[in-house]
Amino acid sequence: MKNKKIKLLLGDEAVALGAIDAGISGIYGYPGTPSTEIITFVQRSKKAKEKKIRSAWSVNEKTSMEEALGMSFAGKRAMVTMKHVGLNVAADAFVNSAISGVNGGLVIAVADDPSMHSSQNEQDSRFYGKFAMIPVLEPSTQQEAYDLTRYAFDLSEKVKLPVMMRLTTRLAHSRSGIKTFEAREQNRLDAPTESSRFILMPSNARGRYRSLIDAQSNLVEISATSGNNTFFEGEDKSLGVIAFGIAYTYLMDSFKGKPNPYPTLKINQYPLPNNMVKKIFDECEKVLILEEGYPIYEELLRNNIDLDANDNIKGRLSGDLPRTGELNTDLVAKGLGLDVVPEEELPEIVENRPPAMCVGCGHRDLYDELNELTKEIGDRKVFADIGCYTLGALPPYEAIDTCIDMGASITMAIGAADAGIFPAIAVIGDSTFTHSGITGLLDAVNEKANITVLISDNYTTAMTGGQSTAATGRIAEICRGVGVEEDHLKLIVPLKKFMKENVDIIRNEVNYNGVSVIIAQRECVKFYKKM
């Protein structure tokens, strides 16, 4: 029974409310666009507060995945959230949670970013779901995101496996009216009395892996009967369409209000229901495959030995749709061979407006200081990291040489210094440092790497909207604990009035042959609120 009142929610928020109403006891995660708003919604929710749902940010995706698994072990329902590249960080725990299985329902909500609006790649998390051999749900709409979240917890508890909820940017960051269910109670504490399946030593793991494989045919059966994958009959069998997730909405808009003439398989649950897929291939001359992300299933359904034998499959690999980037109605309509308004060039006077660091941002002054020093020392390499300060790559700063993944600044600087680069300077934010920088710093200390680490500490996780950080006010303490020498652990305040002395400090530490850490502390101009 659904409530009458309609709420206007982002896809992310629909998942969050779905999880609250499904009876979670905790939600874990690390901020990352486009997944952040799932947890921020729970943190602001009065209902979640009343139900005492824990929702604090974790240090990174791996710790959050394991924390959620621990809650599931104890018999309660847990959700863990991250962006697609965060799943790389959590992958060890993620893949192995499929081997152990779960106790209380465990749902991993992962938000992918096709077109890389705020990311360094557009990897497709469905690959990970398939790799771990777990069920994956991919809603087409915000309402489905809400409904499928409840279903995901039910399914997880039924098959005793973690379930992935896969979102993409456009769904995560769009609003729609949502009808909700009555919230249900949380599970009681119910840890397993016999827990060998959670002890993944080889003798146990082999058996568990076997059962995971044996469970697959059941998962396919469930996909075919759950009602989440739907076959729509169509008159015109010259073409069939398999539309995954949000791609279904673009398909339906392509006909401009007229009915869809083609047999269509709408997919919202994996593994694929083989019988439904077979039906569409049997019935239709050609099949158009619409995937928001990588052409994973298009590739699997093709003849991969005789590539010329794939005339009947249209999609991203055939060239009927672009190989990269998110889909939209115009692209899908074109793929269907329908008329679309042709792409026209923008008037020349429309200039790009790239993102930029805010006026009054401390990162700006830090880069000014670094660039001032560069004038003296000439060549230097700056290994930066993921955060607002990545924007230091753009004019007028052009201050950084690399940005690869969370924490790679310090570790790449180590390798580059090992290879003979001097000066090798790392720039990393406070939240990224606690996420994945501390371990790298320990490597640096252990090998006395000749690097200088600038931790640009703004007391918040700014790029994703100002979430709390894991060690506000304790960064220096952590560096000391890791073994950075007191004489080479410096605090500066990146302000114009301290420019000269700050440049002197950076110069001295760059010239020190060993590990130096300079913590540049200035609160984020946009998000930091005095506690």
Binding site: S118, S174, L346, P355
Partner: protein
């Protein structure tokens, strides 16, 4: 009824408040709504847009196809022009003419010329008018008001939406935004050219 509207501006100019006013108003009346937002890196001082679709029928995609928007509402003129390919031939381009500059910002007269070349164009000094209403930050409500005569969504629905989204901030803020909306609307109804 159906509205396909593209909102354009720069991060911080209140694009999402326009979207929220339209969406809440429509939702209160039982209409279907879909609305896209921009979060994350691209939002940091960059171009921001929102697609908003309102209909009494089912809406599938949140994104408006090229050539199917019936209005572009801009709080920044170059940003409004950026979405021109989405505008329907019979659609309206309603934008503030006050620039949010970047180093290579185009000549404002050329920009006006491009915007006016469209035909159904309304250019408005939204910040200036908002200041008269009490705060130049209400420029977003001025352009919304200026666009309101050209939307299928009735005015009282939008007004209700404005009251809903600003309600928590008190009566003064609600009235300021309503004044801004009405001044924008007045301007559009008497518009000749700018």
């Amino acid at each position: 009824m159906q509205d396909n509207i593209i909102l354009a501006g720069v991060g911080g100019q209140g694009i999402l408040s326009i979207a929220a006013a339209l969406a809440m108003g429509a939702l209160n009346r039982g209409l279907n709504v879909k609305q896209s937002e921009v979060h994350g890196m691209s939002q940091r001082g960059g171009a921001v847009q929102s697609h908003i679709r309102i209909s009494d029928k089912e809406i599938y995609s949140v994104l408006i196809p090229r050539g199917q928007a019936n209005a572009i509402i801009g709080v920044e003129p170059m940003e409004a022009l950026r979405y021109m390919p989405f505008l329907n031939k019979n659609g309206y381009m309603v934008t503030s003419i006050e620039p949010y500059k970047i180093p290579n910002y185009p000549d404002i007269d050329k920009l006006k010329e491009e915007l006016n070349s469209f035909g159904n164009t309304i250019l408005i000094n939204a910040g200036k008018i908002a200041k008269k209403a009490g705060n130049k930050k209400a420029a977003n409500m001025v352009v919304l008001g200026a666009a309101s005569p050209f939307l299928s969504l009735e005015d009282d629905i939008i007004v209700e939406g404005i009251k809903t989204i600003f309600g928590a901030k008190g009566e003064r803020i609600v009235n300021l935004n309503l004044d801004a909306f009405n001044m924008g609307k007045e301007f559009a109804l008497n518009y000749t050219s700018l």
